[in-house]
């Protein structure tokens, strides 16, 4: 008997809502349909009535996890248009903050993945490792999240020598802890059983769905905006872009851990080579009716900002293409063929800010009876699949 299982759309505790309508035949998912937009706040329209400096704050609030990358991408578009060159020190500070953000975002994600596969110890470890990174943000910018460090022409806060040595100490500790996480993800047989060979996205499909970030690199695509479209100080540091060919949930997990190792190396190099000098360039007028586009690498993948400037110091059009917008549709390819119990890990594996599993209504096609599952029940189902509790 085939039936439709809608997962979502709302869960008040999580920051993004989506609706996944899974058609299942027995336990197997045969079709997946997605509806987004439950959190559409009209940010692009709002931006048209704001000055450029206000827009920097607005775009920072697009996402609570990768809140740094949107203002970073936006100010670079404006700098291109107005020909404002951010000083070297500012470019290096931007790089350091962006990589710290990748570290905290990946660790947060790994914890959530651990939670849904019934491995709460991983959640505890991962978030414990993440905590000192948030302290660093508070130390440098005054905020644990929404750092508001990027301004047009540079950055707002400097990194003092004391803060620099604290950052170095923290990333040193994180690197040690990463070895433990790597060990789990590559050797622990229970974890491997939950992550291996589910939600496979082939390289061919990854290309067709234009996916980006760890989702693309987990399917063997060598793309990374930091290498391909260098910005900030990424040209001045050396790093690798890890790729894994397997395309399953495990590959997307493994690739993120390898990326964290690279992030730490970037932070250390950038702090070592931090140039002296000002952190903000002089302001110039932003000419109307010009356009610019920039891409940068958010923790989830390529982020694109497009601006057409308007009169009165306000944009005529701002377009933001965040990475999840292209990654989420690829789930329609990843989910079919696997079980409902695996769907939670598969959806989570692209890091769409895993929400929406609030309630699940199972509608039986033949008699129309409805059953409602709570989020907890679904997680329980996911854990029980392999004999967990």
């Amino acid at each position: 008997m085939s039936c439709v299982i809608p997962i979502g759309p709302h869960h008040p505790a999580l920051k993004e809502s989506e609706l996944f309508k899974l058609t299942v035949d027995g336990e197997e998912i045969v079709n997946a349909e997605i509806k987004i937009g439950y959190n559409h706040r009209g940010i692009e329209k709002l931006a048209e009535n704001m000055t450029y400096d206000q827009v920097v704050y607005l775009v920072e609030r697009i996402c609570g996890i990768c809140s740094n990358i949107h203002p970073l991408c936006f100010v670079q578009v404006i700098e291109d248009i107005a020909e404002i060159e951010a000083p070297d020190r500012a470019r290096f500070i931007r790089t350091i903050i962006a990589e710290l953000e990748r570290l905290h975002s990946h660790l947060l994600w790994l914890g959530v993945l651990g939670h849904v596969i019934g491995f709460d110890t991983l959640l505890m470890w991962s978030w414990k490792i993440r905590e000192p990174i948030l302290d660093i943000f508070e130390e440098v910018t005054g905020n644990r999240r929404h750092y508001a460090i990027n301004v047009i022409g540079g950055v707002k806060w400097d990194i003092s020598p004391e803060a620099a040595s604290k950052i170095l100490n923290v990333v040193k500790e994180v690197r040690k802890s990463l070895d433990k996480l790597l060990n789990i993800v590559t050797r622990d047989s229970t974890t491997l059983a939950r992550l291996r060979n589910i939600g496979v996205l082939s390289k061919h499909d990854a290309k067709k769905f234009c996916v980006v970030g760890p989702t693309a690199r987990g399917s063997g695509l060598y793309i990374d905006a930091r290498k391909d479209h260098p910005y900030a100080a990424y040209k001045e540091v050396s790093f690798n872009v890890p790729t894994v060919n397997d395309g399953d949930v495990w590959a997307r997990t493994y690739v993120r851990i390898l990326e964290m190792v690279e992030s730490i190396s970037i932070i250390e190099q950038a702090l070592g080579a931090l140039p002296a000098g000002p952190i903000k360039a002089d302001r110039k007028e932003i000419p109307p009716w010009q356009e610019g586009t920039r891409v940068s690498e958010a923790p989830r993948g390529e982020d694109l900002h497009f601006v057409i400037t308007g009169e009165n110091n306000r944009p005529w059009r701002l377009k933001v293409r965040s990475p999840s917008v292209v990654n989420v549709p690829s789930l329609t390819k990843m989910l079919p063929g696997y079980t409902v119990a695996d769907s939670v890990a598969i959806i989570g594996s692209i890091d769409p800010c895993f929400s929406c599993t609030d309630r699940v209504a199972v509608v039986k096609k033949d008699d129309g009876t409805k059953m409602l599952y709570e989020f907890d029940e679904l997680v329980k189902m996911s854990r029980k699949k392999y004999g967990g509790v």
Partner: protein, 160 residues
């Protein structure tokens, strides 16, 4: 004469492929980065322009990043953002000749599955139709959003 920059290669490609359907082109410098190529084409040729470009430069990692709707005042328009990852450039292929009443262009969704979702977003917010699109159901707006109201058009005024 030195070797051609990739920006020039891109422009030459469009010149040759589209002939007089290529309306204008320019390269905008970007700070400490390669240029941004902006080409404006006639809406009747957009599908050919995008698909032939992606095919020709697939080795260099060309991919369609997104589609942006724009209200140019007199007309509506679209910007197709292509990132050529292997070369580090962005190409904006622009269309600015869609009439405000019944704007329509060909869909790319049969060639690029990802475009189906991008086109649904533009359809929601600007009311631009994509000919032969399998399903222009609401994507970012709620299903109960009134028909014929397009929030990102300039004649839609914000309240409050």
């Amino acid at each position: 004469m030195g070797e051609k920059t990739f920006e020039e290669v891109v422009i030459d490609f469009f010149k040759e492929k589209l002939g007089d359907k290529l309306k204008s082109y320019e390269v905008k410098p970007r700070i400490k980065s390669k240029g941004l190529v902006i080409v404006t084409v006639s809406s009747s040729t957009i599908k050919e322009a995008i698909t032939s470009f992606l095919e020709k430069f697939s080795e260099q990692g060309a991919k369609l990043s997104t589609i942006t709707g724009v209200d140019f005042g007199k007309n509506l328009g679209l910007v197709y953002h292509i990132t050529v990852d292997g070369e580090g450039i962005v190409v904006n292929v622009k269309v600015n000749d869609l009439p405000r009443t019944s704007p329509e262009v060909e869909t790319l969704s049969d060639v690029i599955p990802a475009a189906a979702f991008m086109e649904r977003e533009v359809h929601d917010l600007f009311g631009i139709k994509f000919k032969d699109h399998p399903s222009l159901k609401k994507w970012v707006l709620v299903e109960t959003w009134p028909e014929g109201v397009y929030p990102l058009r300039k004649d839609f005024k914000q309240e409050g």
